[in-house]
Symmetry: C2
């Protein structure tokens, strides 16, 4: 199952088949559009097998959640939240910069948070408090005043504690395509949002793509994946540990090792076998290893080029000179440099965001960050001196484009005497 | 025709009816998908009434274009290009920043340009060399190696001179939804792009929205518009000149004056009447004034709130203290501060980008900028010291989420002796 891969063919299979669920998702969206809250109760009963009494999580439930979570876990969540906040604060732009580029000509950019965003936090069988932090903290750092969270029932106390630590108190117990439709279109209980972020299954992703005219999204995302760039200096045990950590996420997870060392794949394969013996999620790992394997490259340049083609969600760099490889790679959601940087650090604790583009989308999209929750306005301030300096260019070009009133709007100002 | 407006109702009408052209656009997209170049020739004959001999503009045509354009115009284009380049260089991020946030824990962000983008430059009846600059220069500043331009035939020499000044040499004579389909899906002559930017009519916008699974886009855009925030210190002649400049773009253009001075709308109305007498594009202006008007607000706060609702593509601030109003507004594509800052400066010469969100989309989207042509990867480097410092949090949280191999990937590194 740990085998040589054709990466083009491999990546072809990584793209989720959104078309396959299109009709089902369209019906859910239409149901929510027509019936609002009533559709959310109906779909939750149908898909989650849960009869809800109400949608919104109450303040009492948030408070009560702390009693069901161990103190050490609360402390770890608080620490992770602080690290995530710190990293995203480092990304934040000045809210306004202005620069006088010529006498009388000032230009700049004003950055403003969005008004209301929606975060989708997966749940159901498991709790993902880390995703609750990853989707909401950057929005808070950006200054978004209203953050709306949807997560499938039953809502786990860990998720509520994470949201509370992040300072978020608007949470609805609804998941799947119906949650995306509710946030994009609005219902009696859920006000519509401007943008929806967060990972989800193929139904969630298809609904996000379908409703982009109503609410912008972060990016399409599919099953999690890792790419490992390694040479003969890589530790096979560490590489195998990161492969297993990736594989345990999901039977559809994928792992690709691209190496210049022809002997490494077998060593990693042996380590995978050894380490997975006691893995509690062994059957998931075995399924995911079916979507995984290795490529042996002639040299590091070829290996890097192949990895740029893969554009993995997570990229682990395990080579002798990792910094020059970091400089050379183009496409990856998040990059983990050197032997001790386990990918799990990015999932929880280094502060970087774990909501990342998959399936090659890292060629085009950035992982979730503060900028996803802001928009910018360009600014210009021109005085009479700048008017003289720039006016001629505007008059010439506007006239050439046949836009005479544009030229006149400059001329009328130049004629003004005072 | 210059009348009081209900801005909610006004904005409702600003949204282009993309659904209305959906079937036509889907048929064009399907044609290009099936027949490639042959479909481009067919649709160009059908919609542009032009029988093309070839799609790609040749190096000789680029060179020959200079002979058909006046020297003063070439100089103005070169000056505009330099200003646009300068402003977008001010926006550019460092290509990599790293910060040691704790001993042994380094985090950062790597910024990388996209590989290949598509720019749509409108044309046909008129030439828009300024849009050729606005869509390609930011991509160049970002470092995008391949920039593909599509513009409807006949391609105007001014457009070719502008592209050449910007340093772009890949240009195809095809417009409309078929151009978007060609860039998103690829044909024999046109390689597919990762992202498509630039303004267009409702067919172009509908095609961009429809093909977002294949190529990301800048944002949905519709007819151009201006919002003017003014008090009793505003010069009615300047306000009217900016209204007329906006109105001459397109019969669907829209202008909204929101003012605290109840006497201003009539003064502006009189100035509009006076100035439009000699306007060469009078019939277009008259049609656009039908989509235009004013709102009188009780005070400046109310005026600003109303303008934030409008979220205009262009916002002109004509009040006594324009800087504090600049700080207070949230939503606008580009902001023009003070009496001498005609909106036409942003269209051509101040260096800011004129490809901007319309119809209220400035609440969520930024105008075109360098960041549209880049994506980022987060980075982390953790050594043995950092491993000890962060390891506990990862082990605790991974275990709580049931992801044992995640915890193990940290433990195996902590156990390592060397």
């Amino acid at each position: 199952m740990w085998k040589a891969l054709d990466i083009e063919e491999w990546q072809e299979r990584r793209r989720s088949d959104l078309a396959g669920v299109g009709a089902a998702v369209a019906a859910i969206v239409e149901g929510v559009r027509k019936d609002g809250d009533e559709a959310l109760y109906r779909f939750t009963k149908e898909f989650d097998r849960i009869v809800l009494e109400d949608l919104a999580v109450t303040p009492e439930e948030f408070e009560g959640a702390y009693e069901e979570v161990e103190d050490s876990l609360i402390e770890s969540l608080a620490e992770a939240e602080a690290h995530i906040r710190r990293f995203h604060e480092l990304q934040r732009n000045r809210s306004l910069w202005l620069e006088e580029v010529e006498p009388g000509v000032i230009v700049g950019v004003k950055t403003t948070p969005l008004d209301r965003i929606g975060a989708y936090v997966p749940g159901g069988r498991a709790a993902y408090p880390s995703t609750a932090l990853m989707t909401t903290v950057p929005a808070q750092v950006a200054g978004v005043p209203e953050i709306c969270v949807c997560t499938p029932p039953p809502v786990h106390p860990l998720t509520l504690v994470a949201l509370d630590i992040a300072g978020v108190d608007e949470c609805y117990r609804v998941g799947g395509a119906q949650a995306i439709a509710a946030m994009a279109l609005g219902t009696e209980s859920i006000d519509p949002v401007q943008k929806i972020v967060g990972p989800g299954n193929v139904y969630v992703t298809a609904a996000k793509m379908m409703l982009r005219e109503h609410a912008e999204i972060d990016f399409p995302a599919g099953p999690s994946e890792i790419g490992i760039l390694a040479d003969s200096t890589a530790d096979p045990a560490f590489v195998a540990a990161d492969v297993l950590a990736q594989a345990e996420h999901d039977p559809h997870a994928g792992c690709v090792l691209i190496t210049t060392d022809a002997a490494l794949p077998a060593k990693v394969g042996a380590e995978i076998k050894r380490q997975m013996k006691n893995a509690p999620r062994r059957s998931i790992i075995e399924a995911a290893l079916g979507n995984s394997g290795y490529v042996v490259a002639a040299d590091l340049d070829e290996a890097i080029a192949a990895m740029d083609y893969v554009a993995p969600e997570h990229l682990s760099i395990q080579v002798a000179d990792p910094l020059s490889t970091l400089n050379a790679v183009h496409n990856a959601g998040s990059i983990f440099v050197g032997p001790y940087t386990a990918v799990a650090f990015g999932d929880y604790a280094s502060g970087t965001n774990h909501v990342l583009p998959t399936a090659g989308f890292a060629r085009v999209f950035s992982g979730l960050d503060v900028h996803h929750f802001c928009k910018t306005s360009s600014v210009q301030m021109i005085d009479r001196e700048g008017l003289e300096w720039l006016g001629g260019v505007v008059e010439t070009l506007a006239t050439a484009e046949g836009l005479h009133a544009h030229a006149e709007s400059v001329r009328i100002r130049r004629r003004k005497k005072d």
